[in-house]
């Protein structure tokens, strides 16, 4: 159906739009410094730091993907470990076929994306809590199926092949770089996605799904796209996990712990912002590093902290910071610039 009349509501002169309230120069310089430092970290920092950073990157990847799902598309999944596990096993499978483990990372992401397509047709029949529980069922089912495949090590697990020719320090350096590159792609990709038209659709779904539909947004297709992207991202996280901790075991790769950590860091950092999961991951690692000597108290303090944030800062720590200082490190907004609007102080975004 085509519209026979031209839109007459269109503004006569071109509207000038900026994507950021401030000049992005400091963000760009700051990001470049961080990128360079993190790229050379394994050569300048102790091995322990590089290994901690690697776990940090894996968490950032997972949390960023979870935030896309829950924070933007309104799909609270407690079963993303399904794709972490499938990604790890896809890497194992391709490595057993003789592919270089580092080359398997994009293949694993692609494989989990393909597997996610039919899964959406099952899951998207459900909403809210039922959806969440079904994602968990999918994860456990995937773990049980993988556990029956003898060539992949069955339930007891198998060592990742293809890394024998590298010295331990080479393995550590390469897997660090691979993890860092995946994290960088995931964060930049998410940023570009959220700046795009699809990003605006996701933000509208987050705010009001019914209104998004009546404004012409294809909610189902946007959700499906995001679910598949999140599966691919978690698949890539699983792949780098399999390379960095090369004994592959179903209960470890498909562990509920991954889903819990994704949820925890997204929540304390702030759902529905790009920066939130990254800030959350930093806090998570600071807490972990400073509390791990405390034995069981470490988990109790984590729990108390999460409850406190949920009660007093439900928008997360970054969410609270942002609404106070009206600032974004990675801006995705659309700001209209007209002479009249230049002089007016806008009402802050929550």
């Amino acid at each position: 159906m085509s519209k026979s009349t031209a839109p007459r509501t269109e503004s006569l002169s071109n509207v000038s739009i900026r994507r950021s309230t401030h000049s992005p120069i400091f963000t760009v310089i700051g990001s470049l410094i961080i990128v360079v430092l993190l790229s050379v970290a394994p050569w300048i920092a102790p091995a322990q730091v590089a290994s901690t950073l690697m776990n940090f990157f894996i968490l950032v990847i997972m949390a960023t993907m979870w935030n896309l799902l829950a924070g933007y598309a309104g799909m609270v999944s407690i079963g993303q470990q399904a794709f972490v596990g499938l990604g790890a096993y896809a890497t194992l499978y391709f490595a057993l076929k003789g592919v270089n483990p580092f080359v398997t990372i994009p293949l694993a992401a692609l494989a989990t994306a393909v597997i996610a397509v039919p899964v959406t047709f099952l899951l998207f029949r459900l909403r809210g809590g039922y959806f969440a529980i079904a994602t968990w069922v999918v994860a456990d089912t995937a773990m049980l199926i993988i556990g029956t495949i003898a060539v992949l090590g069955g339930g007891t697990g198998r060592l990742m092949p293809g890394l024998e020719n590298l010295s331990p320090s080479q393995t550590a350096h390469y897997s660090y770089l691979a993890t860092w590159i995946v994290a960088l792609i995931v964060v930049i990709g998410t940023y570009l996605l959220l700046r795009s038209r699809l990003g605006l659709v996701l933000a509208s779904i987050r705010d009001n799904e019914v209104a998004a539909r009546s404004a012409g947004a294809n909610v189902r297709s946007a959700r499906r796209t995001v679910y598949i992207i999140a599966a691919a991202g978690c698949g890539a996280a699983g792949a780098v996990l399999a390379i960095s901790q090369p004994f592959i075991q179903p209960t470890n790769e498909f562990s509920m712990q991954w889903a819990a950590e994704m949820l925890f860091v997204s929540m304390i950092g702030g759902l529905g912002t790009i920066e939130g999961p990254i800030i959350g991951s930093i806090i998570f690692f600071i807490l972990q590093q400073s509390l791990q000597q405390q034995g069981v108290w470490y988990l109790i303090i984590f729990g108390v902290f999460a409850v406190a944030v949920a009660l007093w800062q439900p928008k997360g720590l970054w969410g609270a910071f942002r609404s106070r200082f009206r600032s974004e490190l990675l801006p995705v907004g659309h700001w209209v610039r007209t002479e009249r609007l230049q002089t007016k102080t806008p009402e802050p975004l929550e």
Partner: protein
Amino acid sequence: MPLLQLEGISKKFGQVVVAKEISFQLEAGDAVGIVGPNGAGKTSLFAMISGDIKPDAGHVFFEGHELSHLSAARRARAGIGRTYQVPRPFEHMTVFENTLLAAQQGARARGQKAYNLAYGSLERTGLGDYANDAAGSLTLLRRKRLELARALATTPRIVLLDEIAGGLTDLEVNELTTIIRGLRGEGIAVVWIEHVVRALTNTVDRLLCLAGGAVVADGDPHTVLSSDEVRAVYLGGKTLNPLEQ
């Protein structure tokens, strides 16, 4: 060919009948008001035209095409814009982003054209100065205007207005009716559910009265409002002409 045609639309929620074989049609540029007591099925009728709910029986045709199998989003893209009785702004987006979404998705506009369309619909509804404000910070009047602006940014051929004047002052109602009358001049059809009868009769040239899910009167606003059927269902049987209030 009529712009919008409803044929035998029926819908029940359990035992509650919200639409009983409703049929009517309207042409481009028509302005039709819908009145009726609470629970008469007015909002449900809108929801069946816009695709938010599916009728149990009957057909909706838009520009000669059957809509029954199209989603709400596809109907919005085809040219059916609607507003909600309780405004549904995208609260954490700016006012401009609210209409930009409608321009990009509902009107399939790209780049600068989408920006112009989105900002144009804000200027048109008097929201230009609030473009960069959070939609969640708007007052009720401006939220209602934003509903209209968002519908307009989809470049509709017809707009379904659900109690857009409710809760507003006389002055605010007058401002809104001026905007709505302007739409008619552009060939955009208006269907307007409203309890503020004065605002309706100033704007529409045809009035439908719904009761118990059925059309009990349809015609010239003054004739409809003074008909016995409407007095019986809508005004509780009193012989009171709302135009003389």
